[in-house]
């Protein structure tokens, strides 16, 4: 059953440009996919490691800016991808070392501050980042001679990366490393007593999270062929977190659903109203107050509840 659903979803995704109708929708699908990659990256920390970051747009943006600068320097696309991702990893490591000085709320505050530093550099260090005007690039890569210039081919390339990201997440969740990350979230002291290096596990989780954020940032750059400080603003970090939380943290499907919802709402909402930020804030408040565990687990809970409502109540496991 699960396999059939998975296969159907895969076929649906691959053939999407043929049935969705119009390049506009193909482009939106691409956006959903790279934001989903971003959300999956954020979810590694926010969901599985229990460390909520509000500075991930910084890492997303570092990849995009690094890519744009290297491309502007006249290097090839392979070089761009390699250096941009390496830069993102280095900055992820620096961010991790600093942010892991705190846990819980301390971690949140430090990531906010780090994200704002990146924003400050993007906005004010005009000689490098061109300030508010942003950096424009021309041309998308053509791996193996296949041009990604058309929306369709770019969609398929993004889909390929997206599937890789999902696969890597599935492997991560099932792996002993994934289990130890969840262990540091639920019982850091016991993990420490069992001989696990809690700090190192969190550090590696941060790197994994930063890596996929960087990949998403690079796709964002190629999609828009433009990056500006808006991409690294606190609002962008908050949007990524909203994707994770609205879909459901620490699930594979949650961040993808969340990315779908946020991108669709952003595009639909901005067609009808100017006030996207207000809507974003209101959704945030409503979800946190009324469906704190997210839409996917919330819906699963409701479905379970309706299917077991007439049976005797099982003992609820305590968290």
């Amino acid at each position: 059953m699960k396999r059939i659903a998975l296969g159907a979803a895969l076929v649906g995704l691959v053939t999407l440009p043929t049935w969705v109708g119009g390049t506009y929708y193909v482009n939106i699908a691409s956006q959903i996919l790279f934001y989903a990659i971003f959300a999956l990256g954020v979810n590694v920390l926010a969901g599985y490691a229990g460390l909520v970051s509000l500075g991930h747009a910084g890492l997303f943006g570092i990849a995009a800016y690094a890519g744009a600068k290297i491309l502007g320097g006249g290097h090839g696309h392979l070089m761009v991808a390699l250096v941009a991702l390496a830069t993102t990893l280095i900055f992820s490591a620096v961010f991790a070392v600093l942010a892991l000085r705190g846990t819980g709320l301390g971690f949140v505050m430090i990531t906010v501050a780090l994200g704002q530093i990146v924003w400050g550099v993007a906005y004010r260090w005009i000689s490098i980042t061109n300030g508010d005007n942003g950096v424009t690039i021309t041309g998308r890569p053509a791996p193996f001679g296949l041009s990604l210039a058309s929306p369709r081919s770019f969609y398929w390339a993004t889909l390929l990366v997206f599937l890789l990201a999902v696969a890597s997440m599935a492997v991560f969740v099932a792996s002993p490393f994934g289990a130890s990350v969840r262990g540091t979230r639920d019982q850091p002291r016991r993990m420490n007593a069992l001989g696990y290096n809690v700090w190192m596990i969190r550090f590696l989780a941060f790197l994994l999270s930063g890596f996929w954020s960087g990949v998403a940032g690079l796709l964002f750059l190629y999609y828009n062929q433009f990056v500006s400080p808006q991409a690294v603003a606190l609002t962008a970090s908050a949007e990524a977190l909203l994707m994770v939380i609205s879909g459901g943290t620490a699930t594979l499907l949650g961040p993808i659903t969340g990315a779908f919802l946020v991108v669709i709402m952003k595009n639909v909402a901005s067609a009808y109203i100017e006030r996207w930020n207000f809507v974003l804030g209101a959704i945030f408040v409503l979800i946190v107050v009324f469906m704190p565990e997210g839409l996917v687990p919330g819906t699963v809970r409701l479905a379970r509840w309706t299917s077991t409502a007439w049976r005797p109540r099982a003992v609820q496991p305590t968290a």
Binding site: V108, M109, L241, G281, V285, V289, P292
Partner: protein, 286 residues
């Protein structure tokens, strides 16, 4: 030489404003364990409300007090009706305050449009005052003075009154304070409103210097965060020292490395985090 004096005065002024902003943030964080991400919005909202009050014919100081009180009222509503429901769920509180800050920013944009609004310097404080042969802008001196008075008043409140003793007890150990019969939940409301009021007043007082514009909230919030990380949460002295450090760094940084001023600002925070994660005057986490 004169340039450095002017920079120093500006730094003290900004430090004073930051103290008004971050003292409330620090108390709320220390007592309630909420990094209140709407705090920058309180600052901006106070300033915007004051522009409307002044346009309606009220004086500057009336506008400052009333604007502050309206923000305090808003803060009280947020605390009572939203944050109270989420007691104990710290992450949820972070997200709600963040969501609220987006909503406030967008409403301000809608009501007061995107153009920067300058609040006129109040009568009697325009021009310069000569101190020891050097002319200082009178208004900036006044702002520094207000910050000193507020700092003294807050210190007296926290250190010399019964309410202050209860707040300190709550910061140190909220559960023990509750056991001894202190109504900590009421303290939460009082401290939250006090913090919102201070932030709102700071916004109004900062108006003639900074003027009011969309994005002011997002610019002030990180400064408050830096001050609190630097000084240590829940410590008034920490906020005071942190505010002036940040004030000086910001102004001197802007004069010396204009493109990197915003980054220079965060350096001491990073150093403190590495060397002393609980902040200069904070207590180590148990």
């Amino acid at each position: 030489m004169n340039v450095w004096v002017v920079l120093a005065v500006n730094s003290v002024t900004l430090g004073g404003l930051l103290f008004l902003l971050s003292a409330g943030f620090s108390l709320v964080f220390g007592l309630m364990k909420i990094p209140n991400l709407t705090h920058g919005s309180f600052f901006m909202l106070g300033a915007y409300l004051a522009t409307s009050l002044i346009a309606a014919g009220f004086g500057f100081w009336t506008a400052a007090v009333v604007g502050g009180l309206l923000v305090a009222l808003f803060g009280g509503i947020v605390e009572r009706f939203i944050l109270r429901r989420l007691a104990g769920a710290e992450l949820a509180q972070v997200l709600v305050t963040l969501g609220l800050s987006f909503m406030v920013a967008d409403v301000c944009l809608m009501v007061w449009t995107g153009d920067p609004i300058r609040i006129a310097t109040p009568d009697g404080l325009r021009g310069a005052t000569s101190v020891g042969g050097v002319g200082f802008p009178t208004y900036r001196l006044a702002v520094s003075l207000i910050a000193v008075v507020v700092a003294a008043a807050l210190w007296a409140l926290l250190d010399r009154t019964r309410l202050g003793a209860m707040i300190r007890a709550g910061v140190d150990d909220a559960e023990m304070a509750r056991v001894t019969g202190i109504r900590v939940s009421r303290l939460f409301t009082i401290v939250f409103c006090l913090g919102a009021w201070l932030a709102g007043v700071a916004g109004v007082i900062g108006g003639p210097i900074l003027s009011v514009y969309p994005g002011l909230d997002g610019e002030m919030l990180p400064l408050a965060l830096v001050v609190v990380i630097l000084g240590g949460s829940g410590s008034l002295l920490g906020s005071l020292v942190g505010s002036f450090v940040v004030g000086f760094l910001y102004n001197f940084g802007q004069a010396m490395f204009p493109e990197l001023a915003y980054v220079v600002l965060f350096l001491p925070m990073l150093i403190v985090l590495v060397v002393r994660p609980q902040g200069l005057f904070g207590r180590p986490a148990v």
